[in-house]
Structures are given as C-alpha cells and as structure tokens.
Amino acid sequence: MTAALRRRGLDWLLNVYALLALVYLLVPIAVIIVFSFNNPVGRFNFIWQEFSVDAWKHPFAVPGVQDALVTSLKIAALSTLIATALGTLTALALVRYEFKGRAPVNFFIFIPLATPEVVLGAALLSQFLNWGSPALGFATILIAHVMFNLSFVVITVRSRLIGFDRALEEAAQDLGATPWQTFRLVTLPLIMPGVLAAGLLAFALSIDDFVITNFNSGSTITFPLFIWGAARVAIQPQIYVIATMIFLVTVAAMIVTVWQQRRAERMAAVRPDEPELSPA
C-alpha cells in the first residue's frame, strides 16, 4: 500500500518536474511577446511600464531595421534554395549509391556541425581577407550561410531517405518510366517532406545566424547584426514586435510542414496490407 502510494507520489513529482522544465523553456518567449506591448521609459525595454500597442502600429519605425530585415530575408531565401538543392543531391548520393570514399564523406559532412561557429566564421574571414575578393558583404554572407546550412540539409534529407521503400521506384521503372521520370514523379514527391523540413530548418538557421555573419558581413547589416548593434545603444519594443512576428510566421510554417508530412506519410502507405510507414 505505502509502496504504491510512494510510487504514485514519484510519478506525480516527475510530471511536475517535466512541466516546470517546459515552463522554463517557454517563459523567455512569453516575456518577449509581453514586452512587445510595453511602453518603456528610457532606451532599454527591460522594465515593465504600461500596456501599449504603439510599437505594433509602427513596427518598422526604428531607422535601419526594415533594411536589415529585408537583407536577412533575402539571404535566408537564397541560401535555403541553394543549400537545399545541393544538400539533397549529396544526401541522395550518400544513401543510394555505394562508392569509394562514402564513409570519409559522411564524416567530412559531419565536421562543420562539430566545429564551433566562431571557428567557422573566423576561418572563412581569413580566406576572404587573403583572397581580397569578393568584397565582404551580401555575397560573402550568402556563401557562409550556404556553407553552414549544407550539413544540416544533408543530415535531415538522409534520415528521410533511409526509411525509403525502393520497391516503389522499381515499380515505376517496370511501368516504363525513365530514370528522370522516376525521380521526378516518384522519388521526389516521396522525399519531399524531408526536403521541406530541411529547407525550413535552413531558413530558420539562416535568419537566426549571428556569429558567422558577424565575421563575414563587412558593412552589410542583417536583422541579428542590427540587434547586436542596438543592444549596446537602445532596444526599442519594435525589436520585440518583429521578433514576435517572426515567431508567429515560423510557428505557422512549422504547422503546415507537419501537416504536409502526415499527408505524405498517408500517401506513402499506399499498400493496404502493409503496415504504415513509421517516421524515421
């Protein structure tokens, strides 16, 4: 009896602990959303004064923030496109083919992930300084973002490819499809959720990156660089408003991706007598 009681007490304790951990993860996010409605006194938005929607009415009123945001979005979109395309091809090669040097290539792709960001940024800057071109700015930021996104894309798409049923492609080939048709009509739609997830991850990493960008930006300002500069001078509630907007858009994109993934999994489970594909 007491043992059962103690067991239930422990269960309860563990659940409360987990709940507190979740709260710990979410409190800073809540603070940002709440403080986007603050009307702060002075230059920093650290102390709650009064409720106000002023910052939401004019989110881009802070000089320079709009340009920084546009630059960030452009770089994120371009680097996502390039990294997702190149990374997907790399993942296909790694999972679908046996070739000499596959193990070292797997390891090589993993190394950037195990390298501190500050080292990635500093090394790339050394190279650009030695080359003397391209001039530090948009192009060098883009190059850097594709570089650090590639490994993430390869790993995400690869995990999706590993659970892939080759029989579906063989069926297409049996039905007379050319290799290109097979890829376009069968393979690509099936790995699409993985590619989409990788793209979303790349976009989020790119728009969030400060460290590597800081080394290779020259005088170009992205949104995180703008905040870094502002953090020493003045932090307006507008910055919290924009952060909240990015947050909401990301959540929406995430929900759409999850929904897409579910749909694709249902589509993949076409054969009724086979168990449903379990997510890898």
Binding site: Y24, L25, L86, G87, T90, F99, A114, L124, Q127, G163
Partner: protein
C-alpha cells in the same frame, strides 16, 4: 561500357556541388586560417607575413589560459544542468506523452523560433536588477540586499544552458522513444524496483542520446560568446569573446587564428573521445544505411 561508366560516376556527380562548396568554403578556409596563425607583424604598418611563428600558439595559450578554462568550465556546467533538466523532460515526453507527445516536442523547439540574440535579451530582462526574480531572491534572503544576478557567472551559465537546451532534449527523446517496450517489460519481470529497471535497462539503452546531447550542447557552448557579452562582464568572457575581439576589433589575426585552432582542436579531441565511448554510428546518424 559507357553506360556502366556513367552509372559509376553518377554518385560523384551528385556529390560534386555540395561537397565542392564545403571544400571551398569550409576546408580551404581552415588552411588559410592555419597559415594566418603562423604569421607575424602588425595590422597597420607592415601587415602580417608568414614567418612560421609557432610561438603564436604557446603565447595565445599562455595569455588566454583563463578564458579557455572558463569556457570549458561554463560549457561543462551548462551541459550538466541541461542534462538534469532535459533527461526527465525527454523521459516524460517519450513514455507518458500519449497523444500530447508531438505538441510537447513542438514546445521544446519553440525557443528556436525566436532569434538567439532576442532570447538572450529576454534573459537580460528576466534577470535584471529590479526584476521579479532578483526582488524575490532578495526578499527570501538568498541574494543580499544589493545582490545581482546579471553580470555574474550565474546569468552567463543560465543563458548558455537555456540557449542550447533543445539540443540536449531532442537526441535524448529520440533515443528514449526508440526503446523497445518489450525490453522494459522484461526489465520489470527481472527487477522488483523501478529504480533498478531504470538503472539497468532504460538508462543504458538511452546512452546514445545522452552522448549525442552532451556533444551537441557542449561544443557550441564552449565556443559561445553571445551570452558572456550580453549577460556578463569581461570577468565572465570566454574564449569566443577573445577570438571575436582579436579578429574584428583589434585585427590581431594571427593570435585569433591560433586561438580558433586551439578551440577547434580541444573540441575535436572531445568529439573523438566521445565517439570512442559511444561508437561513431550513433554520432553520425548513419545507422541503417546500406552497408
């Protein structure tokens, strides 16, 4: 003949663009940085020339030993705290999440949806001198009358822990979730107490997640400079702060490059030691690939 040749070349063709990019903008830069770290001179008058100045490394290590030690100390503390917070949470999500599992996982990665720097500024707000947390701790007597949290070791380690916590939880969850329920049932048949089941079945089976989570938290934490910059003072500065200011403020490229290599070397040593313990497959995520 040509068809066979083309088939053999196809994987290399697929690899070429992505791998080429990484060779050109990840591997080659390391070579340039290696050369940079062996130069001497000054940034303004003579510029830097390659003189194979290996003493740059010993000097860098001598001058910034404190920051190195502090980096690994802070990263170690943050990793340990993240493990203590993350393991029970991952456990609850994996075994008791039920239909809330995906929703809870989404909540774990929600912090990533807000810009890193803004998350850190949020901690600056939470821990600020007249904030709720400091006031409460002062009232209870844990903090002195004019005690602060901001600009201390506590705030920097708290910031690092928070910012990298999802990197700890996700691999933990992945390995816990993969545990075969039959293994647990067998465990309950064997052992009387749940503690023994946990220690002899669950924990060992979740070790790949622990190893991956520790690595994914520790490596970026050791190289971080944002938390020390925004939540600390020069007294809390880590090796990342030194590299950043040597490179971008003082333009002392050789020292900064040497420091970067030392940081990378220490990090790689840790990865390799961990890989030995854990087995590379769990680490690289290549399990299940065609052999």
């Amino acid at each position: 003949m040509t068809a066979r040749l083309r088939k053999g070349a196809l994987p290399y063709l697929l690899l070429l663009p992505g791998l080429g990019w990484l060779v050109l903008f990840f591997a080659l830069p390391l070579v340039y940085m290696a050369l940079e770290s062996l130069k001497s001179g000054d940034p303004f008058v003579s510029g830097f020339k390659l003189t194979w100045e290996f003493s740059n490394y010993t000097n860098a290590l001598k001058d910034y030993d404190q920051q190195f030690i502090r980096s690994f100390e802070y990263a170690g503390m943050a990793t340990l705290i993240a493990l203590l917070i993350g393991y029970p949470l991952a456990y609850v999500i994996a075994f008791r999440g039920g239909r809330w599992r995906n929703a809870m996982l989404l909540l774990v990665i929600v912090p990533f949806f807000v810009t890193y720097l803004i998350r850190t500024l949020s901690w600056e707000t939470i821990l600020s001198d007249s904030g709720v947390v400091v006031n409460t701790l002062q009232a209870v007597g844990i903090l002195g009358h004019d005690g602060r949290l901001l600009d201390t070791t506590v705030s920097v380690v708290a910031g690092i822990t928070y910012n990298f916590l999802p990197f700890m939880i996700l691999p933990l969850y992945a390995s816990l979730e993969r545990i075969d329920a039959r293994m647990l049932e067998a465990g309950y048949d064997l052992y009387d107490r749940r503690r023994d089941v946990f220690l002899h079945v669950t924990l060992p089976l979740s070790m790949p997640g622990v190893v991956a989570g520790v690595l994914l938290t520790f490596i970026p934490a050791a190289g971080d400079f944002i938390n020390a910059q925004l939540l600390g003072t020069p007294k809390q500065f880590m090796i990342g702060n030194v590299i950043q200011s040597r490179y971008l403020v003082v333009n002392d490229y050789p020292t900064a490059a040497a420091l970067s290599f030392l940081l990378m070397a220490f990090s790689l040593i840790i990865v390799i030691v961990w890989a030995r313990i854990a087995g590379t497959e769990a680490l690289l995520g290549t399990e299940g690939e065609r052999k």
